[in-house]
């Protein structure tokens, strides 16, 4: 049990960081759905307009399970202030971690996110931890396409 619901996960579930929504028009938004359990979350992202694509602000709205809330909360902390390029790199490392393909010597950027390193033992819950990241990644993929504007 404590394997999955580590102290840090429980704490983020109870006091999630950066929860809410950014103002319409000033950000990019994406809805994430898990049709299996009916979980729904919204990621809003504000990027710098100087071409650097720095994530200036991020907010998440979620009424999901502890795993998905904690993952969303910790994701927001991990990416805030980073460039989209760096955030994508973290996404890929996290993805590998969830699938037990993670090699810490090659992927050094996870830090606290390593608390999810046991999730692969609970296959039905991997999707919960992945949903915020996949939703974020959908926005990032759109913005990192060449010629794409960064505001809606």
């Amino acid at each position: 049990m404590d394997n999955l619901y580590q102290e840090l996960i429980l704490e983020h579930n109870k006091n999630p960081r950066n929860f809410g929504e950014l103002k319409e028009g000033e950000c990019l938004k994406q809805e994430g759905l898990n049709p299996l359990c009916g979980d729904r979350l919204i990621v809003s992202l504000k990027l710098s307009e100087d071409g650097e694509q720095i994530i200036e602000d991020v907010k998440i709205r979620s009424d999901g399970c502890a795993i998905s809330r904690a993952s969303a909360s910790m994701m927001s902390e991990a990416i805030k202030g980073k460039t989209v390029k760096d955030a994508i790199a973290i996404f890929h490392e996290f993805h590998d971690l969830l699938l037990k393909k993670h090699d810490p010597s090659v992927c050094p950027h996870l830090g606290k996110l390593e608390v999810f390193s046991n999730i692969w033992k609970y296959p039905s819950r991997v999707k919960c931890a992945a949903l915020p990241w996949h939703t974020l990644n959908e926005i990032m993929e759109q913005t990192s396409k060449p010629g794409q504007s960064t505001s809606e």
């Binding site: 619901y5 579930n13 109870k14 359990c37 009916g38 009424d63 999901g64 399970c65 502890a66 039905s124």
Partner: protein, 423 residues
């Protein structure tokens, strides 16, 4: 007391109960999803593969004849179990979902026209919603839903005004898989008959009723009744469509293939008699045989005894759950099956499910394929416990204690005795 003892001994029939999950004796509370299989059923399936493997209805050889006999004996078991008049009225399908799709295509294509009305209810499983939506789209027909009250009971008196001269069909569930409501099917059908005679056909989704309540299609006077084998202690991949003979006669085939024909030329075919007309291709032979065996097993225990015992389980669970101050029970119908849905402030149903699994308790968490119902109650998901006759009162006590520990775990604080007594 004697009843309790008997039911305790039936546990020995279910080998899956005798295992540990994460170091705890398994407590299986997910019977609405699927039921465990008794040894007699497992043996029948094994015996078919060991000794009788063959196709049915085709070979003249001994193995095929043996298999065919068992296959058709299963049809007779189904007929007696639901009180149907004739074997022609029992069609084997792959499950409830296929039975309803068969109806939506065969009955729907033949008898539903543009502007006709189909009525379902606000508490249906997706499999009793989507096939009718697709039919309505194909035909330009209108789909209406009978509402329910905040306890989760159908406002079925409204049928008197909902039914119009264009209404062709009412399809509704006997027992809600999500919240356990038992609908007064007999009274509802009587109302339909008094308003519209036999012009409105009634489909009863008995998926959640068949293992728990007596079914008598003649007494209910339903036109169709459907259920799945796997929810009544038989294999997956088999189900039943019951239909009144004259209705099934009047309906066109659903799937074409082997076994459902009388004569085939390259231009045109004529079709076999009932029920073969609706049984194209090689069926789930071992599944059908397992269903016959499961129903015979239930007949021996007595479905009335099962009902009485499960009422006891349900009443105990209701009392234990509602004594916990942090639990909100979803669905408070006055007549309920042994299915309980609940939510807990601050703990998502998924976390409830994972936590309990670590204690060896299998429950279901999610939307139970009943999204419209979930929306009605303003929740995205619930935790659901559902019983079968092999469950025990003691298991419910264990669940209660684990729920308290779970609440404390996720909230990082302990509940005092006073907290638990308040309420």
């Amino acid at each position: 007391m004697r009843l309790l003892k008997n039911f305790e001994s039936y546990r020995h029939d279910f080998p899956a109960l005798y295992q540990e999950v994460h170091g705890h004796d398994l407590i299986y509370f997910d019977n609405a999803a699927t039921t465990l299989k008794p040894m007699v059923v497992i043996n029948e399936v094994m015996n078919h593969y060991y000794a009788d493997t063959s196709n049915v209805h085709r070979g003249v050889h001994t193995l095929s004849e043996r298999a065919t006999l068992k296959f058709e004996a299963a049809r007779e078991s189904v007929r007696t179990f639901i009180g149907a008049a004739s074997l022609s009225e029992i069609v084997f399908t792959s499950g409830t979902t296929e039975s309803i799709n068969l109806l939506a295509h065969s009955f729907g294509d033949a008898f539903i026209a543009s502007e006709d009305e189909i009525i379902i209810t606000a508490m249906e499983h997706h499999s009793n919603i989507v096939p009718w939506q697709l039919l309505a789209q194909r035909k330009g027909a209108i789909l209406k839903a009978l509402p329910m009250n905040e306890c989760g009971e159908l406002a079925w008196d409204l049928l008197a005004t909902m039914i119009t001269s264009r209404t062709k069909l009412l399809s509704l569930t006997f027992v809600s898989n999500a919240i356990g409501t038992i609908n007064p099917i007999k009274e509802i059908i009587a109302l339909v008959r008094s308003v519209a005679g036999t012009k409105v056909k009634v489909v009863v989704d008995a998926a959640q009723a068949v293992a728990h309540l007596p079914l008598d299609v003649k007494d209910l006077d339903c036109d169709f009744l459907v259920f799945s084998g796997h929810k009544v202690f038989a294999a997956t991949g088999v189900g039943v469509l019951y239909g009144k003979e004259a209705l099934l006669e009047s309906m066109p085939p659903y799937k074409g293939g082997g076994h459902m024909i009388r004569k085939v030329s390259l231009e045109k075919s004529s079709f076999a008699d009932l029920p073969d007309k609706f049984e194209a291709g090689t069926p789930a032979i071992e599944g059908v045989i397992s269903l016959g065996s499961a129903l015979n097993y239930l007949q021996k225990i007595g479905i009335e005894n099962i009902r009485t015992y499960e009422e006891e389980l349900a009443a105990f669970a209701e009392a234990e759950l509602s004594a916990l101050p942090f639990i909100r029970v979803i669905g408070k119908a006055s007549c309920k099956a042994a299915i309980h849905s609940f939510v807990i402030e601050g703990v998502h149903p998924h976390d409830i499910g994972t936590y309990l699994d670590q204690k060896g308790i299998a429950i279901r968490s999610g939307h139970h394929c009943a999204a419209p119902l979930m929306e009605f109650f303003g929740v995205v998901a619930t935790a659901r416990i559902s019983f079968a006759f092999y469950n025990r009162l003691a298991e419910i006590k264990i669940l209660r204690n684990e729920l308290i520990k779970m609440w404390e775990f996720f909230h990082g604080q302990s509940l005092s005795r006073a907290d638990l007594r308040a309420q």
